[in-house]
């Protein structure tokens, strides 16, 4: 049942496609169940996400969020860790972005604020991942459980801070003041003129996300640290026997992962909302799990999966506008089904494919 029994194109191409097809097939059944036409829904979804400039802009804007959270989950996957705390890390990362912007926006232009905000986001996100990482490394308490707990703690902490500490004076809204020009990333529309994204808030964060993809690829596949991370993930015992330090690997991996999650806040807070507000993460952290699974924890796969989920988000919004019966909750259903088929039921089609693609001259003894 292990990898390597199948040709690579089947393992990395056909199986994800089959899983995705199954997820969409069941989604289609759900659409039928509520009395709408699935094919019509697909048409609206595709047109809404790719059919016009603004739609493409929104698709890319959502995709930016998913690239960050997807990379975060993927990096942890490589070390055999499951960071389910992207939600909390991104939320606290927003605090780092907002503090940088609030402190600098009135004095300096955006390109001075930007590096500070990037560092703030990454530092805060990483800090929020540190305690679960430390507990996993030193105390052996499972990182899945602690990161779930930290999601809730982050949510309470941020509500407290936004309501009691950071709220605009004299306002009942749990949000900070709106940033000035110096605290806003430029929209892609303002940076180039050959493609019109309309009013879509897709911004410079997309470029930062793509740079992050390259960096993650370099770190994971071209550095000593990446080699240690992958070895530890593949076989922790062997890695330790080879002289690698598990405590260091676990903590460093989780810090990178948390930092990447935190940087998602850049897109939402500095790129689009221009203020820190409650619940801005809105599930993007969790969707990162689906993105990383779909993308097979590889940056290229993650970008593709992130665009797919961006299309679902934008197209789904358009769909709920055209067909009120298909509310935006449909997106959540599709995400659930993708996570189910691409993740939990990953092995559903594998035995059949192994039977098809295994040449008969291989003795049966070797299987199993």
């Amino acid at each position: 049942m292990s990898a390597g029994q199948l040709p690579r194109w089947v393992d990395y191409g056909l199986i994800p496609l089959l899983n995705l097809a199954a997820a969409f097939l069941v989604s289609g059944l759900v659409v039928l169940l509520i009395g709408e036409n699935p094919l019509e829904a697909v048409e609206i979804l595709l047109w809404g996400s790719l059919g016009f400039g603004e739609g493409v802009g929104f698709t890319l804007f959502y995709a930016t969020n998913f690239i960050f959270t997807g990379l975060a989950v993927a990096v942890a996957f490589h070390a055999g860790l499951f960071n389910i705390g992207g939600e909390g890390q991104a939320y606290v990362g927003g605090l780092g972005v907002a503090l940088a912007c609030l402190a600098l926006d009135q004095y300096v232009p955006w390109w001075v604020t930007m590096p500070v905000a990037v560092i703030g986001a990454a530092l805060m996100g990483a800090a929020w991942a540190f305690i679960p990482a430390w507990l996993q490394a030193k105390r052996g308490s499972h990182v899945v459980i602690t990161t779930i707990m930290f999601n809730f703690i982050a949510s309470s902490l941020m509500v407290y801070l936004l309501v009691n500490v950071m709220a605009k004076p004299g306002s009942m809204q749990p949000e900070t003041r709106t940033f000035e020009e110096g605290g806003r990333l430029p929209f892609l529309n303002d940076l180039q003129s050959w493609f019109d994204f309309g009013t879509a808030p897709v911004n410079l964060s997309l470029i930062i996300a793509l740079i992050a993809c390259v960096l993650v690829w370099v770190v994971i596949w071209r550095t000593r640290l990446g080699y240690e991370i992958r070895s530890f993930g593949a076989n922790a015992t062997a890695a330790v026997y080879a002289g690698m330090l598990p405590v260091r690997i676990i903590i460093v991996t989780m810090l990178i992962s948390g930092g990447l999650s935190g940087m998602m806040a850049l897109n939402e807070i500095m790129g689009s909302q221009h203020r820190l507000l409650i619940e801005f993460v809105a599930g993007y952290g969790f969707v990162g799990i689906a993105v990383a699974l779909m993308g097979r924890a590889h940056p290229v796969g993650i970008v593709l999966a992130a665009i797919l989920f961006g299309m679902l988000y934008q197209g789904g919004a358009e769909l709920s506008f055209e067909k009120p019966a298909i509310t935006r909750d449909m997106i959540v259903v599709i995400q659930g089904l993708v996570i189910l088929f691409a993740g939990a039921l990953e092995n559903l089609f594998r035995p059949a494919l192994v039977r098809i693609f295994t040449p008969s001259r291989v003795p049966a003894v070797q299987a199993g």
Binding site: F152, I153, D329, V332, G336, L340, L345
Partner: protein
């Protein structure tokens, strides 16, 4: 003095009400995790059950049919989890996450499509909701000082599911530690290979544990929509499944501990509601978010090893692969 006592009784009374869904979900998780199947999908199963119960109780006007509907939905989701993690040997965490997503999305989508009330189910007719039960003699002893209010407010006057939840604690203890099934269940969570060698089906045992988990989360979810409130509200579990998970760890996977952990977390919730905007003597006003975060903070401290050590069943989360030759 007497007034403080009255307040205390009222807080404890709401503690019992708030702990009930946690306790049911916590015991549900206990069966599953003791058999080696990690379940972070408690939240989703509860939510699905709450919707199923709310919808069926509204349509039939019968709370018992609603309960059955809720349990049915939860069992279906539990079997999905079982199929993914036992039969397909998939990642149990991922499967749990998927179930949570599916439950949030489907309940809202179907709720809107069937009832057109923004994802809620319509208010229940009278018979569609579990009514509070007044225990015998409660009215008579109501005015007896101290013991009267304890019996009248605290022990009496809850709906049947509250009593079911607390009865499930000794029952679970008995099943786990005094029956053959319980022994095997615990064994399969620690060392499935040994159970297999003894000629007992690991797969069947784990499926049974997962189904029990479904039944209990089904009751927990039904409690929310057709006992505690009158109808399903979008996303009404609001993280209770995760608190139950925290309680399970806090209780170190033991039934009686689970009851105390859930009562503690329910108590924190009751205090948070009670103290909203009120100042405490000496400390001043404590932000309500602090009480909301406290169950998770306590669990993390426990996991850090500062309050004893929480050791999960050894084989939990590990798919069992029967060796083939």
């Amino acid at each position: 003095m007497f007034e403080n006592f009255q307040t205390l009784i009222l807080i404890l009374d709401s503690t019992v009400r708030l702990s009930t869904p946690l306790l049911l979900a916590c015991l549900a998780g206990l069966y599953s995790e003791r058999s080696g199947i990690v379940d972070i999908g408690l939240e989703g199963k509860m939510l699905g059950a709450a919707f199923g119960a709310g919808a069926i109780a509204y349509l039939t006007g019968n709370a018992w049919l609603g309960l059955l509907g809720g349990i049915g939905v939860a069992i279906l989701l539990a079997l999905l989890h079982g199929y993914a993690s036992i039969t397909n040997r998939g990642n149990q965490i991922v499967s749990g996450v998927a179930i949570n997503f599916l439950a949030i999305g489907l309940t809202a989508l179907l709720g809107q499509s069937w009832f057109h009330q923004g994802g809620r189910t319509p208010p229940l007719p009278k018979g569609g909701r579990f009514q509070d039960i007044v225990l015998p003699g409660a009215e008579a002893v109501k005015d007896v000082p101290f013991l009267g209010p304890i019996y009248y407010e605290l022990l009496s006057g809850h709906n049947i599911l509250v009593y079911v939840a607390f009865a499930a604690v000794p029952l679970t203890w008995w099943v786990l530690f005094r029956t053959r099934f319980g022994l095997r269940l615990r064994a399969v969570g620690e060392n499935p290979a040994a159970v297999d060698t003894a000629g007992i089906s690991v797969i069947l045992l784990r499926y049974r544990a997962v189904i029990i988990c479904g039944i209990l989360t089904g009751i927990a979810g039904s409690y929310l929509s057709i006992a505690q409130s009158s109808g399903f509200i979008k996303d009404m579990t609001a993280g209770k499944g995760y608190i139950a998970l925290a309680a399970l760890i806090f209780a170190k996977w033991k039934p009686v501990n689970a009851m105390f952990a859930c009562l503690l977390f329910g108590f924190l919730d009751a205090i948070a509601i009670r103290l909203q905007g009120q100042a405490l003597p000496l400390i001043g006003e404590v932000p309500v978010q602090f009480f909301q975060a406290l169950p998770y903070i306590l669990t993390v401290i426990l996991l850090a090893g500062f309050i004893g050590k929480a050791i999960p069943p050894k084989a939990s989360g590990v798919p069992y692969l029967k060796e083939r030759t």
